[in-house]
């Protein structure tokens, strides 16, 4: 049943195992390791911004404290819950695929996608408020309600950190839509779900970054 010549398929799917792997499990492990190495890169990418954050906050704690009050902690909190929930649905979609429940798995992927979209809508409202209030950086910082230090510094960090994170959310939405489409098409089963698994790892990392951004930006003092 595993095809003719040297081509082998993962049981019950049309996925041909590349010849340099011993088995589908071998391939799965290699793909996952590739993803972990990528995630390490991602963490180090964000770490540059966390270092900048630590430096500036330690130098001007009072300004960070005041500037942080201009962020809406309820919107930030809502987005935290939305992302945590999307991590749950993402993990569940993998869980359902492992149990051969393709229908539930694709429902979970839709929910994950909708959460990501909700996150971006909330971010849109937050960003537009900041644009209108002049809570920006450099000469575009025109807000007058913060007396301490250089609040533009806080907002340049805010936009860089949440902007990079938001870009990850957008990319995640694209990838989630793609694996959802493939799940619907019946590409995956309990033996083969590598693309969904590595997408899930990526998506959890996006959640992970936000877990730190939320208290660091929204909940100072």
């Amino acid at each position: 049943m595993s095809g003719h010549h040297e081509v082998h398929y993962v049981e019950g799917t049309k996925h041909a195992i590349p010849h340099h792997f011993n088995s589908g499990y071998h391939e799965f492990d290699a793909s996952k390791m590739g993803m972990w190495v990528f995630l390490v890169n991602e963490i180090l990418l964000f770490s540059a911004l966390f270092v900048a954050y630590a430096m500036f906050r330690a130098k001007d704690p009072v300004m960070f404290h005041e500037a942080s009050h201009q962020l809406n902690k309820w919107m930030g909190g809502l987005n935290t819950i939305v992302l945590l929930f999307s991590s749950l649905t993402m993990a569940l979609s993998v869980g359902y695929l492992q149990r051969n429940n393709t229908k539930r798995a694709s429902q979970m992927l839709i929910l994950t996608f909708l959460c990501a979209a909700t996150f971006m809508v909330v971010k849109y409202f937050e960003y537009s408020h900041k644009f209108h209030a002049g809570l920006l950086t450099a000469k575009f910082y025109t807000f007058e309600g913060i007396s301490a230090g250089h609040p533009g510094l806080f907002f340049s960090l805010y936009f860089m950190m949440t902007g990079l994170h938001g870009l990850h959310v957008l990319i995640g939405m694209g990838v989630i839509a793609w694996v959802w489409w493939r799940t619907r098409r019946g590409d995956f089963n309990e033996h083969y779900f590598t693309p969904v698994e590595v997408t899930a790892l990526y998506w959890h990392l996006v959640d992970l970054v936000w877990i730190f951004l939320f208290p660091l930006l929204y909940l100072i003092g």
Partner: protein
């Protein structure tokens, strides 16, 4: 199935779905906890508490959602090394800045700065009996020591001063006798003389003084068009920005960095004195290395702020004879002058500082 020869040993880890649900509930609980703790102030611990909770949440996501707990050792090492490197980056880069004691005052005063409200000035230019009565009291408390109880320029402080304080009964004026001119003199002081700036007083108080001083003078003029123009009272008042309160703690912090401190003399006097080091550390940035006074411009704040301090050398002031007055001024600061309260000294340090400050005043 040849390629699945050792199928029994190879399998995907399957986590029970309830575990995902439980982890999610724990994550929501921890999120609520961070928000709630952020409403309380634990001082330095705020950051530690928030990061501890975030790390716990991160650990749950990594272990269970990402299933690193069940993953192979290679992937686990990948993640652990990433976390280790982030910790190293942050801790070593920020190590100096985090542990530095930047000498923040225990209490932070607010220093007023910015212009006076021209609309208010315009209103108060006209004399009323009320103002004169109020000015009389203010005068007795703030000006009589030099200008004399009756305004004759013969107060107890006058003897040591050159030029002498103005005798208001003479009718002679050096800097103009119109209300707005006198207001400007009181606001800015006269540099290089005993007449210091009283900009720390409110506009009302300064105009009350103006009207009192004018009431005792035999000769005075009214505001001319030039006087008004010089004080910015001729135009449109709507562009005026109200006084802003500037956090002196920030001023001092920024002063350690980029600001210009004009210190006329760069060697500390009596540097062997036991109080010299304390003084250099906590006071010299504003008072000059040897108490000679300084102009301190903090360009690191927005709007920029400037502080002036007067020389202590030969100064006549209550605190020079009275250590408790000294302690009060230094620990409480002087509101409106931009002088912060600095009070974190023990009793030995207090007496060293006091004796050093006296030495600088020439006593």
């Amino acid at each position: 199935m040849a390629h699945h020869g050792n199928h029994k040993e190879e399998h995907h880890h399957v986590t029970p779905l309830e575990i995902f649900h439980k982890v999610f509930i724990a994550l929501i609980g921890l999120t609520v906890l961070t928000v709630v703790t952020s409403l309380y102030d634990f001082g330095m611990m705020n950051m530690v508490v928030a990061m501890a909770i975030a790390s716990l949440k991160a650990a749950l996501v990594i272990m269970f959602f990402m299933q690193l707990k069940y993953d192979n050792i290679l992937n686990q090492l990948c993640m652990i090394s990433a976390i280790l490197f982030v910790a190293i980056f942050i801790l070593i880069t920020a190590s100096d800045v985090i542990v530095r004691d930047n000498g923040r005052p225990m209490r932070i005063e607010k220093a007023a700065q910015g212009g006076d409200d021209p609309a208010l000035m315009n209103k108060l230019r006209a004399v009323t009996d009320d103002q004169v009565a109020k000015g009389k009291v203010l005068y007795a408390n703030n000006c009589a020591s030099c200008h004399g109880a009756t305004g004759g320029g013969d107060g107890p402080g006058a003897a040591a001063l050159n030029p002498k304080p103005r005798n208001f009964l003479s009718g002679e004026w050096k800097y103009g006798s119109s209300p707005t001119r006198i207001f400007t003199t009181i606001t800015n002081g006269v540099k290089g003389t005993g007449m210091s700036s009283y900009s720390g007083m409110s506009v009302e108080e300064r105009y009350a003084l103006v009207h009192y001083v004018r009431s005792i003078s035999p000769q005075k003029s009214d505001d001319s068009a030039e006087d008004l123009k010089a004080a910015g009272l001729d135009g449109d008042f709507s562009k005026f920005k109200p006084k802003q309160m500037v956090d002196v703690g920030i001023v001092m912090e920024n002063m350690a960095q980029v600001d210009q401190v004009e210190l006329p003399q760069d060697r500390q006097k009596f540097s062997d004195h036991p109080g010299a080091k304390l003084y250099a550390q906590h006071c010299a940035s504003c008072h000059g290395l040897s108490g000679q006074g300084a102009k301190v411009t903090a360009v690191g704040v927005n709007p920029p702020i400037a502080l002036y301090t007067t020389s202590w050398n030969g100064l006549q002031a209550g605190w020079i004879q009275d250590s408790s007055a000294f302690k009060k001024i230094v620990s409480e600061g002087l509101t409106g002058w931009g002088k912060p309260g600095i009070g974190h000294f023990n009793s030995d340090e207090w007496s060293q500082l006091y004796s050093y400050a006296r030495a600088l005043s020439g006593r």
